[in-house]
Symmetry: D2
């Protein structure tokens, strides 16, 4: 069977690099094109990665595949959608706002950008959590008169949070969430990214727009879709403080949650451990053996030790305790890989879900 | 006037070093003796600081004063209380449990250890917050039949929290607190301390016993003392998650608080900024110009930039926002220097308060 | 074929952990026993790894294999050599001095300790560099009247240096070496190791005894063995300054070398790239595809990107330039993984060489 | 006496900030103007410091003085030299190439840029080392027909090196130098600077153009000026490898030096400690108590502990040893503050020298 031809737009950034790694040896997706900003158009991918200082911007520890190094890079604005079956985008919101609708005229676009996350006819997908929102793309096609569609994945900080809330919500009902994040530098990308002078021996207590994204997106992701014209957001209160810490990759989050019904620590650990996600999602090619790993060791999770659990696709939870302040309160700490499950590999997982549900082919 | 002669016990650790710095040029306290563990007894202070590897353990950036370098170090257990007017202790709780009562037979002991913090006749002092608890030492003397007494300061993590809650409580009433700390390495001391292999590019989500200390101590510190035999703890719910981050000094805390009466961000900022602390405490020699600095810049506070504000004695607050989840909710981030205000200089401040209130002289 | 039964002594340290990883799925070696210090004797390996704080000391990112977690840990001093075919030791020099001769009565001991490196009848092996020194163990057996023998591997800092000097010496003659190392924290192990307070935002310019080891060992490793009673050291001058930097793993070394005959950068790069090492060593099970990787990109090697090249067994070289100060001077930078090729996996490689040369079986 | 009015060009960068700090309470220099790139022209200094993310770019731990925060920032290209008595520049070489000659028509320009360092009629000044080169500015004025002149300070990496070589050269003759630097991040500035993703847990073995600068500048600085038309460079061979390490500020350098006459460690330590620098330079307002501090403790110098020695103006030396490889060889490690003595404060020191020698006033 011929593989589906995918183009990566925003290929030189960190998420773009993770897309390249995620498509290596994929069972039904093939890397067919690379695009980036105009200043890199016409260069080979290896040349496009080079910073003005001459420093190579390939960040992953696995070497850059040679056949990718020599691939030409297109200007994102010039990509011909008709040459591909699918686009993955990892660009800034303002670029996405122009680019993605144009591509979606013809092909499905799985996006890491926030540009369309809040549109009524756009599902915000984390396959194990809300695979049943996927059919909303039919409404989107109908309403916009396009052949393709846009499916964003959520902000990387809401990823692990929504995944851990999902089984809690299914069993006990989630009423309110207070979260403090300790986010990795890779979330800020490379240009300019977080400079070493600012973050070494330090914490930066603010990440512009991040907290609002978490608060709005969590409600939509955990909401319900009854086949109509939009997702009905979950009625849950979410409040958070997002900080940056001197960690390369892997977001850590300290979560306090209020449930509708009391859950013991054992109950909560059990429902997280046993959670298989939405029907069939645990058999998608990129799915980890378990969506959530729960540690009893109180010194876990740690981002350096746990971010790559199961290929960076599992969310790791620890320090599960009852909380006395909130009604039916629980507290825990989670680690989620922000550029794997939280970006590129999470988007590939969405493409796999769309494929499994027959929504990918035009 | 002759200065009061102070002995520092636990002088080789980080807090001990900060005590040495804090007593330099003090208006009425003088460094008269140094003590440490038996293996260092008989050495000069400079020799006692040396690790088995030969590496000098003086951690402060100001140089070790030469006259201190050559001072002899006693075995803590052999210190004769009668030779001093006052003792500052910075030892582990189990050592404190033996040592401090023996010293308190004769002289006041201001302690950074947790050993006696929870005893009924022992005040837990942060001068600006609860100077009025200080007279409880009279009851302690009476009950224990001692000439001196023991006054501990709180855990370093509760220090900035209690200071910021105090003006909020006075004006709006504090009902509940949910806090996540991002604590510096210096809080763990030097032997063994936090090893670089564990903390580089990482977060450690657990600090043994820390969370309980914060939860219990906050209630006692913010409690009321009516001149009787004990402090009446504040009826406030406190829940927290304490983590360690790759920061040298300065604890950062993300706080969510529920108030009895609603406060706007402007209200809260104003009462923090204007707070002078308990009567007269702002005139103590070590008092900062203001107990709390409030930043409007959302990128502050940062531990590296703010820990040393006003000699490490001020607590810096930023990111003040209303919180929608808690009733009359507020959220903010604070930075407090854990080995200055949170340990040695905070203890010296307590000695200054006792002196001002006539409680120091026997 | 039954595998050879190996015992790891010093199993709880970092090198010990790397031994465990290195023996997973080894073609002819099997992990048959674990030993550590007396205080851990009788515990399971998982329990023995736990620090007094309760924190688990497993440092590798691959999870601790469950069957190893439950293995009992013996007291190193009580290990019965007769129960094993081979011992790997990763203990301090003073412990090795007692332990290794006792084991060597019966079985071969491949050691990461420095205790016997400088004995006349002891080869100091890096298989690609000096496999022909291996038969010196026959002389050792004869002289000491033992059934087994002791073979140390060199200090981790000399590993990459000797490997890169070997092809240069073979082709151009090495006369003098000046080296500055930027060493990773893992080289200092875990107890006490390098504490985060000392190394964060810092460089420590001294590692006790390290420089002497490099200077003496390089000469012996690169020396000649003509079948007699000892190795004849190479007549080369070596001078170095060893520093510690805030890097988790992977030693970086800045090398200036004076050759007997001039070599261009191209010459030097070529002989390094083409070097296959001693006869047959490139076919040992743990051998990397190439012993030395040479980068043209001037921003390489970097320890975080290059330490794990080829399973941590390759030495990565970059910044090859001619040097005008030294006679026939060259300069370059290398990165070598200090706990893989520089310790555990390097020792396993030695065992593989001994096996291939028929020296392992008693 | 009216102070001399100084304008800082490149005021928003790290060196520019250090200039602002260095001119606070200066005895005869006053901050009279600030300039930066066109995009910041017209803003207040506080606004100009703000990054696109909104993050304030004031990097120093001392707070930004309020009267400076509100000063207007000019476009560097629009600065009217006639409004000032002196300019300090901290701009990129290509900007300096345009800007500095225009200013030098009218006023002295003390520059941290490399643009004119290698011109024949331009002295490259480190006051204690080569104050006698200063009169070359008269030749420069004559030849260029200007009222002012340009005096650059050297590259920050050559600063500590030249200072430590100076007394060695005076007493023993310096023949050859091999140096490996471990440079701090602040040397790369803030835009883009070194990103945290690249430097955390890492070493970067290349800093473009740095090594050539060190090699060329050291010879000129240590050269002789006999009152003619140019400096006669010292006949010394210099070779180096410059690396970047995860350190905020303070360059560390591992130096191997070959002398004309043998010096013992004691000799070398003594001449460094006793060195007062060129006539009268130790009485300049910014001069440290001693130009060079020599530690006997082998664990020093460390950049975090020693960079701020004597206001960041002293060079700290340790690990002095004889070297067996080089003829009359010595080796040592030094730490020098790269943005204080190595940039802004070093430039202010040059202005102080020019003033003392009567070269500053027009």
């Amino acid at each position: 069977m011929a593989k589906l031809r995918a183009v990566i737009i925003g290929a030189t950034g960190l998420a773009g690099q993770q897309f390249i790694a995620a498509l290596r040896s994929h069972p039904f997706l093939e890397l067919a094109g690379l695009a980036a900003s105009p200043r890199n158009a016409g260069k080979s991918y290896a040349d496009a990665l080079r910073a003005p200082s001459g420093m190579m911007g390939w960040f992953l520890t696995e070497p850059l595949p040679e056949e990718v190094a020599s691939m030409p890079v297109q200007n994102g604005a010039d990509v011909r959608a008709q040459d591909y079956d699918l686009a993955f985008t990892a660009v800034e919101a303002d670029v996405a706002r122009e680019l993605e609708p144009r591509l979606a005229q013809h092909i499905p676009v799985v996006s890491t950008a926030s540009a369309f996350r809040y549109d009524e006819d756009v599902p915000l997908l984390i396959p194990p959590v809300n695979a049943d929102h996927a059919p909303l793309v039919r409404e989107q096609r109908r309403r916009r008169g396009t052949k393709g569609f846009i499916v964003p994945i959520p902000n990387c900080t809401v990823m692990g949070l929504a995944i851990t809330l999902a089984p809690l919500h299914q069993h006990f009902g989630v009423r309110a969430v207070l979260m403090t994040s300790l986010q990795a530098m890779s979330g800020a990308g490379r240009s300019p990214g977080v400079i070493g002078l600012d973050i070494t021996d330090n914490v930066i207590p603010f990440i512009p727009k991040e907290e609002q994204k978490v608060e709005v997106e969590a409600k939509k992701i955990l909401g319900t879709f009854d086949g109509g014209a939009s997702v009905h957001p979950l009625d849950v209160k979410v409040s958070c403080t997002c900080t940056r810490v001197p960690v390369l990759e892997g977001h850590t989050e300290s979560v306090f949650v209020s449930l509708a019904r009391r859950a013991t620590v054992q109950d909560a650990a059990r429902v997280m451990r046993e959670w298989r996600g939405a029907e069939g999602t645990d058999r998608l090619p990129s799915a980890p053996g378990s969506w959530i790993q729960v540690h009893d060791d109180p010194f876990r999770p740690q981002p350096r030790l746990d971010r790559d659990a199961q290929g960076g696709m599992a969310t790791t939870v620890g320090r599960l305790r009852e909380d006395e302040v909130l009604e039916n309160g629980l507290k825990y700490v989670l680690v989620s890989h922000n550029t794997k499950m939280g970006a590129a590999r999470g988007a590939v997982l969405v493409a796999e879900l769309l494929h499994a549900r027959g929504l990918l082919a035009g």
